[in-house]
C-alpha cells in the first residue's frame, strides 16, 4: 500500500502549487513541496527496509487497469502497477533521497525568484515522473514516466524563459531527446509485435526461458532481439546524453542550478542506464549490442573528458563530467557489469549533486558569475563551500576510500575479462580516469586557488537549509561507497561462471588505483600558473584567460558536434522547409485569403457614396434585366 502511494505525495504537492501558484508565500510553498519530498523520501526508506526484510525479492502493487493490447498471438494487459525490486529500490532511494536534499537546497536558492512556486511545482512533477519511470512494471508505463521527465526537463531548462538562450537550450534538449524517444517507441512496438508482451518481468522471463532452453532462438527471433536492443539503446543514448545525441546536455546548463543538479546530473540522465539495466535480459541475448553499448560509453567518456578540459563555465565542466561518468555506467552495462554500473549510478548521483549544488552556492556568492577564469582564490573566501567541493571532486576522481572509488573500481575491474568488453576498453576507462582527475584539478585550481579575479563583494549566503543539504550530500558522497548493493537477485546470468582460463595481469588494480594520482601530479605541475597566486610573486595582477589554441576552442565547443549537426541536419532541413514554403496546401489556403481580399476591395470600391454612380448602376442593371428577359 505504501508503494502505491509513493508517486502521489509529490503529485499532490505539484497540484497544490500549480493551483494556488502566486497566492502561496515562500514559506508555505516550500513547506508543501519540501514536505512532500521529505514524505516521499521517508516512504522510500520504509519500502527499501520492507523489501530487504521480506522473503521474496520484489514487492508489486496493482493500481488500476489502463488498457489492453492485442496482437495476433495474444492479449497483453497494460496496467498501472508498480514493481519494486533491488534495482528500482536503488533508484527510488536515489530519486527521493537526493531529490529531497536538492529540493531543500532549491527552496533556499530560488527564494527570491518571482515564480518560486512554479519552479517547485515543476521539480515535484519531475519527481512524480521519475518515480513512475523507475517503478513501472510494464514498458508503456515506463514510457509515460520517460516522456514525463523529458517534459519536466524542458520546462525547467527554459524556466527563465525571458532569455532567448534558455528557450533555445530547452528546445534543443527536447528535440534531441525526442529522437532517442522515437527510437525507443519503435523498439517497444517491435518488442510487442514479436513477443506479444510488454510487462517487464514477463518479457524477461520469456526471453530467458527461450534463450536458455536447448532449442534457443530461431534466426528470426534473434534478429528481432538484436534490433529491439539496438532501438532501446537509441532511447537510452538520447536520455543519457551519450554519443551521438549528447549535444543537448551542456546547453541544458542554462536552467537554474538545482535543476542541473537534480535532472541533468543525478537522476534523469541516468534513466538510460536504468532502462538498459532493467531490460538486461534483452541485451544479454544480443551480445553485439552489448559491445556497441560498451564502445559508445567508452568513446563518450573520452570525448566528454576532453571537452571538459577546455571549458570555461563551471557548470559546463560539470556537465561534461556528467556525460563522461554516464559513459562509465554505459561501459559497465556493456561489459555485463550490471551491479557495478548501477552502483556507480548511485554514487555518482551523490557526488554530482553535491558538486552542482556547491557550484550553485559559489555562483550565487559571485553574483551569477559562472566563468572559472573570473573566480580564483575562493578557498579562503568561501571555506565551507570549497571544502564540500573538494569532497565532491575527490569522489569524482575516485581517490581511494571515497564512494566514487568503490564504484569506479568495480567497473574497471570487470572490464578486462568481460566477453563484450576487453583490454582495449579497459585502457579507455583508465585514460578516462586520468582525464577526469586532470580536469577536476584544473577546475579546482582555477576556481579555488590562485589570485582573486573578481571585483565585486561576495554575497555570502548562510542559509541553514542550503548548508544542511550540502552537508548530508557530502557525507553520502564520502561514505556512500560503504552501502553494499546486492543486486544478484535482479540480474540474470546466462550460464554459471566458467572457469577463467586466462588470468588477468596482476598490475591491473595497481594502475587503476594509481591513475588519479598521476593525473593530480601532472596537473600540479602543468597548471602551475592557475594554482599559484601570481599577485604575491611579481606584484602585477595578471589576468588568466582560457587558451585560444584552435584545438582548445574545438574542444570547448563540444568537439564540433554542434556544427556538424548544424551542417548535416539543421541546414538541409531549413533549406527543405524554405523550398517547401509554397507547397500546394499553402497555396490553396492563401488563394482563399486572396479571393476574399479581392471581393473586399471590389465591394468597398462600389460603395463609394456617390449618388449618381448608384443611379447609373441601377439603370444599367434594369437595362440588363430587360434585355435578358426580352432575349
Amino acid at each position: 500500500m505504501l508503494l502505491a502511494s509513493l508517486p502521489f505525495y509529490p503529485l499532490v504537492s505539484f497540484l497544490l502549487l500549480i493551483l494556488f501558484a502566486k497566492r502561496l508565500s515562500w514559506r508555505l510553498a516550500s513547506a508543501i513541496s519540501v514536505g512532500a519530498m521529505a514524505l516521499t523520501a521517508l516512504v522510500s526508506g520504509l519500502l527499501v527496509f520492507e523489501l530487504s526484510n521480506s522473503s521474496s525479492h520484489f514487492i508489486s502493487v496493482d493500481l488500476w487497469h489502463w488498457f489492453s493490447l492485442s496482437s495476433q498471438q495474444r492479449m497483453a494487459e497494460v496496467n498501472v502497477s508498480f514493481y519494486l525490486d533491488g534495482l528500482s529500490a536503488v533508484m527510488i532511494s536515489v530519486v527521493s533521497g537526493v531529490g529531497f536534499l536538492i529540493h531543500l537546497f532549491a527552496a533556499a536558492y530560488m527564494k527570491d525568484d518571482a515564480n518560486f512556486s512554479r519552479f517547485m511545482a515543476y521539480m515535484n512533477l519531475f519527481i512524480v515522473a521519475m518515480l513512475i519511470l523507475v517503478l513501472a512494471d510494464n514498458l508503456v508505463l515506463l514510457y509515460l514516466g520517460w516522456e514525463g521527465v523529458g517534459l519536466c526537463s524542458f520546462l525547467l531548462i527554459g524556466f527563465w524563459y525571458q532569455e532567448q538562450a534558455n528557450v533555445l537550450a530547452a528546445r534543443k534538449a527536447f528535440i534531441v531527446t525526442r529522437i532517442g524517444d522515437t527510437s525507443m517507441a519503435i523498439g517497444l512496438f517491435w518488442l510487442f509485435s514479436s513477443f506479444g508482451e510488454l510487462n517487464i518481468t514477463a518479457v524477461s522471463e520469456l526471453i530467458r526461458g527461450v534463450g536458455s532452453s536447448e532449442i534457443g532462438f530461431s534466426l528470426q527471433e534473434s534478429t528481432d532481439i538484436y534490433w529491439i536492443a539496438l532501438l532501446l539503446l537509441g532511447g537510452a543514448v538520447g536520455k543519457s546524453a551519450q554519443l551521438p545525441l549528447q549535444t543537448w546536455l551542456p546547453d541544458a546548463m542554462a536552467g537554474p542550478t538545482p535543476v542541473s543538479a537534480l535532472i541533468h546530473a543525478a537522476t534523469m540522465v541516468t534513466a538510460g542506464v536504468y532502462l538498459i539495466a532493467r531490460m538486461h535480459s534483452v541485451f544479454l541475448f544480443a551480445p553485439e549490442v552489448m559491445n556497441y553499448v560498451a564502445w559508445l560509453g567508452a568513446i563518450t567518456l573520452l570525448l566528454a573528458g576532453l571537452a571538459a578540459l577546455a571549458q570555461t563555465d563551471i557548470k559546463r565542466v560539470l556537465a561534461y563530467s556528467t556525460m563522461s561518468q554516464i559513459g562509465y555506467m554505459m561501459l559497465a552495462l556493456g561489459a555485463g557489469a550490471w551491479s557495478a554500473g548501477v552502483f556507480h549510478l548511485m554514487t555518482h548521483a551523490f557526488f554530482k549533486a553535491l558538486l552542482f549544488l556547491t557550484a550553485g552556492a559559489v555562483i550565487l556568492a559571485l553574483h551569477h558569475q559562472q566563468n572559472i577564469f573570473k573566480m580564483g582564490g575562493l578557498l579562503k573566501r568561501l571555506p565551507f563551500e570549497s571544502a564540500l567541493f573538494v569532497v565532491g571532486l575527490i569522489c569524482l576522481m575516485a581517490l581511494p576510500g571515497t564512494s566514487g572509488f568503490f564504484s569506479k573500481e568495480a567497473i574497471i575491474a570487470e572490464l578486462w575479462l568481460s566477453t563484450t568488453a576487453g583490454p582495449a576498453l579497459w585502457w579507455c576507462a583508465i585514460i578516462g580516469a586520468l582525464l577526469t582527475s586532470i580536469y577536476s584539478c584544473r577546475l579546482f585550481f582555477l576556481a579555488f586557488l590562485g589570485n582573486e579575479r573578481f571585483t565585486e563583494k561576495l554575497h555570502i549566503e548562510k542559509a541553514s537549509l542550503m548548508r544542511s543539504a550540502l552537508l548530508i550530500l557530502a557525507l553520502l558522497s564520502l561514505f556512500g561507497g560503504l552501502i553494499s548493493l546486492d543486486l544478484s537477485e535482479v540480474f540474470f546470468k546466462i550460464k554459471a561462471e566458467e572457469l577463467i582460463s586466462v588470468n588477468e595481469p596482476s598490475w591491473l588494480h595497481t594502475i587503476a588505483i594509481a591513475t588519479p594520482f598521476v593525473g593530480i601530479l601532472f596537473s600540479w605541475f602543468y597548471f602551475k600558473n592557475y594554482r599559484v597566486d601570481s599577485n604575491l610573486e611579481d606584484g602585477v595582477k595578471t589576468n588568466l584567460t582560457a587558451s585560444e589554441h584552435r584545438f582548445a576552442i574545438f574542444c570547448r565547443n563540444g568537439l564540433g558536434f554542434d556544427s556538424l549537426y548544424d551542417v548535416l541536419l539543421i541546414k538541409p532541413y531549413q533549406l527543405l522547409a524554405k523550398l517547401n514554403r509554397r507547397d500546394f496546401i499553402d497555396q490553396t489556403m492563401m488563394s482563399t485569403a486572396w479571393y476574399v481580399g479581392l471581393w473586399h476591395d471590389v465591394m468597398t470600391m462600389i460603395q463609394n457614396g456617390n449618388l449618381r454612380w448608384y443611379l447609373a448602376a441601377f439603370g444599367l442593371a434594369i437595362m440588363t434585366l430587360i434585355g435578358v428577359s426580352i432575349l
Binding site: 462600389i606 463609394n608 457614396g609 456617390n610 449618388l611 449618381r612
Partner: protein
C-alpha cells in the same frame, strides 16, 4: 382628328425618359437633377395618357393626376433639401454628399 398611334407615344415617352435619366446621371448640380427627375416623371405621364387614350379608359388620366401630385410634393421636399444643402455646403454639387461610402 387623326389618332396618334400608341407606338409613337411610347417612343416619345421612352426618349423623354432616357433624356431625363441621362440628365440625372450626368448632371452634378442638384437643381438640374431635380429638373431631370421632373422630365422623367412627365415621360411616364405621357406613357399613361397615351395608353389611356388608346384603350379609351380613364385610368391613365387618373394615374397622371396622381403623378402630378407626387411630383409637386417631391419638388417641395427636394427644394427644401436644396436650400439646406446650399446653406451647409455653399454648393449644389451632388458629389459632395458622399459621406456614406463603404
Amino acid at each position: 382628328m387623326t389618332t396618334i398611334p400608341l407606338f409613337h407615344v411610347l417612343v416619345l415617352s421612352s426618349l423623354l425618359f432616357a433624356i431625363g435619366f441621362i440628365g440625372v446621371v450626368a448632371r452634378k448640380n442638384t437643381l438640374f437633377i431635380l429638373m431631370s427627375l421632373e422630365v422623367m416623371l412627365n415621360a411616364v405621364g405621357v406613357a399613361f395618357i397615351g395608353a389611356g387614350s388608346a384603350w379609351q379608359q380613364a385610368d391613365g388620366q387618373v394615374m397622371f393626376i396622381l403623378i402630378l401630385t407626387l411630383a409637386a410634393a417631391e419638388v417641395a421636399v427636394g427644394l427644401a433639401l436644396l436650400i439646406r444643402m446650399q446653406k451647409k455646403y455653399r454648393s449644389l454639387d451632388i458629389d459632395l454628399l458622399n459621406e456614406m461610402r463603404g
